[in-house]
Symmetry: C2
């Protein structure tokens, strides 16, 4: 599904105008992103949690050049799906 598909579905299910849904969905994603950039996790019960995780320094390979490089420690955005979400997906 694309964003347009999601917007259509939400609009159909809620009766809210597509323009409003699109604007809201976009703002939602932007807000989640900015929250994680600020280091603040987002907890959405029944859906999942968007959390910032720390990745340790790591040695990787540039495969095409067959060289080694060091990836410094850094933060990444991650998502932990809610248990109920996992349950529903696992059985299908």
């Amino acid at each position: 599904m694309t964003k347009a598909d999601i917007v259509n579905e939400v609009s159909k299910n809620t009766g809210i105008e597509k323009v409003t849904v699109q604007k809201t969905v976009e703002a939602f994603m932007e807000t989640v992103k900015e929250s994680l950039v600020d280091g603040k996790n987002v907890y959405l019960r029944g859906f999942g949690s968007f959390v910032v995780k720390r990745r340790a320094e790591k040695t990787a390979r540039n495969i095409s050049k067959n060289t080694t490089i060091i990836i410094p420690a850094h933060n990444i955005p991650s998502f932990k799906p809610a248990k109920s979400f996992v349950q529903k997906v696992k059985t299908k």
Copy 2:
């Protein structure tokens, strides 16, 4: 941040009523969930992709009992953040 925090922020930034924002955000999450339950991935540019992954049968541990259990092959929901999202988080 909680759902209420997100809804407040979205409402503030878009001018859309909180009640509408909440309804939209809830429907958004529900739609993403149902899409993955149906086996259909969701691609949201600049935010990330919600994708169903297959997990092979696995030997795992019941840690508290220190026993071995077999987890049958199953699907899990996962999220791959967009590159731009990763970039913004990594540097903070």
